[in-house]
């Protein structure tokens, strides 16, 4: 059977989601593939703000952008290491993928590459108004993919 795809990111790391993924995997005797997306939206929006509103030059803006992403990568590595330890404890086979970029695009790309049939993902706490105005990454992923999704509220 294919691995369950557990989707995490710099802002989606809910312990509830992680527990749900590993319990499901153990129950169904499947492995877990943990995808950690280094969401570049925040550093890119800061780069834009610094150059557009702040009129800061490209070099210091780029240095900050890279510094933020480097920090996200350290956190991603740490999180995946912790998950690896958890997988060993629970005797669940485990694989990791780190991607950097747009959360929605990278999720869809990995779902396609891994031919995932079951995805577990966190839904961030937001108001309905915010979702209506700014859209929802999960709704977009759900629209564009065939596979089953288990969405766990933060």
């Amino acid at each position: 059977m294919k691995n369950i795809l557990l989707v995490l990111s710099t802002t989606r790391q809910s312990p509830k989601t992680i527990d749900a993924a590993f319990e499901k995997a153990k129950e169904e005797k499947r492995g877990v593939t943990a995808l950690f997306v280094l969401d570049s939206e925040m550093p890119e929006s800061i780069f834009e703000k610094l150059t557009d509103i702040g009129f800061t030059g490209e070099k210091p803006s780029q240095q900050l952008h890279d510094s933020i992403l480097a920090e996200y990568r350290v956190r991603g590595d740490r999180k995946l290491k912790d998950l690896g330890d958890m997988a060993r404890t629970m005797a669940v086979s485990f694989k990791t993928i780190i991607r950097e970029g747009d959360f929605t695009k990278e999720c869809l790309s990995v779902i396609g590459e891994e031919e995932a049939d079951f995805v577990i993902i966190t839904r961030k706490k937001r108001s309905s108004l915010s979702r209506f105005i700014f859209g929802s990454a999960l709704a977009e992923i759900n629209d564009k993919t065939h596979c089953k999704m288990l969405i766990i509220d933060e």
Partner: protein
């Protein structure tokens, strides 16, 4: 080959993809229609055209449908094409003294960043204050603030971020869980923001305000004069902001040795101060002294440009460094904002709009200060503070002229509060930088920010009432 299929309804896809073009088309069409209407009573045809261009610029600056600088450029072109001002006069405003002042200040700041002097100064201050968690928090806060007195606040926040993130990581502070981590990044952001209003150097909005004041009234505010009026307000705000941060964010750290070690390691890695750092520091200090005490006789821009030339004489920066560290869009934004301010004031549109929106509510100096301070301090949360100055100040100056109120009052009342955006990331880059750390949530900034904002407004108004008369600013 993996192909992702967008399953949304076709109309949704088309609308999302073409929304920006539709919005721009509607805006340009509305501007054209408004500009060619019969003007209302009290407004000339030029005034109506100026008001239309002003409205278009306002919407573009707020919505960011075009970059701020391009909107500035568009404003100049429309002012010339619609014959609101003669083309020669419109484009001549690009040669405004304020533009050369801020250009010089940005190049000086780029030298301070490039040589590493700013990083060294930050580490020296952190070493002085790094003896306990509370002192370190204060050190980060005060370093951000003091550096923002002399350098753009956005550059200070960007420079401090890697230092503070390394400290947070070294102390094993957990993102979104550590109260102390939250405090560190809010201190970084708020220190930079508050320090940035103290002089002409902390943010582009202050020299822009002076330029609009000078172009429309012939009056000016000197470098030292500004500091005398604003620095005491900044000192009080810094105390209040620090109190708010420490009230809401527990300092749960006990073991602190790792932070001390990290700061010491970074200082050792920097090595001794280089000749370039010493010379940059000397030129910067000399420039600031000249600005403070000789700006009226020598001119702010002249001092700035001569200092820039000296940086190149001593090879402290190269032209490539300047290209990398300075964003030339500021020239376009400035030129456009000054031209727009001049156009709407000279055409009478600012007076007409100001009277329509605010009317006789601002007929006294106190009312003028309060109204414009309130507008500026709240609008700046959603709009770039430079745009706030470009939008509000011409209106305020026109109203103050009609009631024989000193226009320098409204200049302070718009420029200072416009720099105090504490709550939302779209207001100013330092708050976005704090959010990106992962330690701060939007609701932390909203809650603590609204308290600081209200207190800042009260402090500003009280200082204008009781302190400014002591230094000769009559209200």
């Amino acid at each position: 080959m993996n192909v992702s299929i967008d399953r949304r309804p076709l109309w949704t896809i088309l609308l999302v993809r073409s929304f920006r073009y539709i919005a721009l088309g509607v805006l340009f069409s509305l501007t054209y229609l408004v500009a060619h209407r019969v003007p209302p009573e009290g407004l000339s045809q030029e005034g109506l055209r100026a008001a239309a261009v002003f409205g278009l610029s306002l919407v573009l600056w707020v919505t960011h449908l075009l970059p701020l600088a391009i909107t500035g450029l568009l404003a100049i072109v429309l002012i010339a094409v619609m014959e609101i001002l003669p083309a020669k006069d419109a484009y001549a405003l690009f040669g405004n003294e304020a533009i050369f002042f801020i250009l010089g200040a940005l190049i000086l700041a780029s030298a301070v960043l490039k040589t590493g002097l700013s990083g060294r100064l930050a580490l020296i201050m952190l070493t002085l204050f790094g003896s306990s968690p509370r002192y370190l928090l204060f050190g980060i806060f005060i370093s951000s603030a003091l550096l923002s007195f002399w350098m753009p606040e956005h550059a200070v926040a960007a420079m401090m971020f890697p230092i503070v993130i390394e400290i947070a990581r070294g102390l094993e502070l957990r993102p979104l869980q550590s109260s102390y981590g939250k405090a560190l990044f809010i201190a970084l952001a708020w220190g930079a923001i508050i320090g940035g209003v103290a002089t002409f150097l902390g943010g582009a909005r202050n020299p822009l305000a002076i330029a609009i004041l000078k172009e429309t009234t012939g009056k000016s505010i000197g470098f030292f004069e500004w500091m005398l009026a604003v620095v005491p307000i900044v000192v009080i705000l810094l105390c209040v902001a620090y109190a708010i941060i420490t009230f809401f964010c527990r300092i749960e750290m006990e073991s602190f040795d790792r932070a001390r070690e990290l700061i010491a390691e970074k200082k050792i890695k920097l090595g001794r101060a280089t000749l370039e750092e010493w010379m940059t520091g000397f030129i910067m200090t000399a420039t600031i002294i000249l600005w403070m005490f000789f700006s009226h006789s020598l001119g702010l821009a002249n001092i700035a440009i001569l200092s820039v030339v000296s940086l190149f004489v001593f090879k402290l920066v190269s032209w490539k460094d300047v290209e990398e560290y300075v964003n030339w869009g500021i020239i376009l934004m400035y030129g456009g904002a000054i031209c727009l301010g001049s156009a709407i004031t000279k055409s009478g549109a600012a007076f007409w709009a100001g009277n329509l929106i605010i009317g006789s509510w601002a007929s006294t100096p106190s009312a003028l200060v309060i109204i414009f301070a309130v507008l500026a301090i709240f609008l700046t949360e959603g709009v770039s503070n430079t745009a706030i100055v470009a939008i509000l100040l011409p209106l305020g100056i026109s109203i103050s002229n009609s009631y024989n109120i000193d226009p320098t009052l409204v200049t302070y009342s718009v420029a200072v509060p416009a720099g105090l955006a504490f709550m939302l990331p779209m207001g100013t880059p330092p708050t976005a930088i704090a959010l990106s750390s992962g330690y701060v949530k939007v609701r932390d900034l909203l809650l603590q920010g609204i308290i600081l904002k209200i207190l800042a407004l009260v402090i500003f108004i009280l200082m204008t009432r009781y302190y400014w008369p002591l230094i000769g600013i009559k209200i």
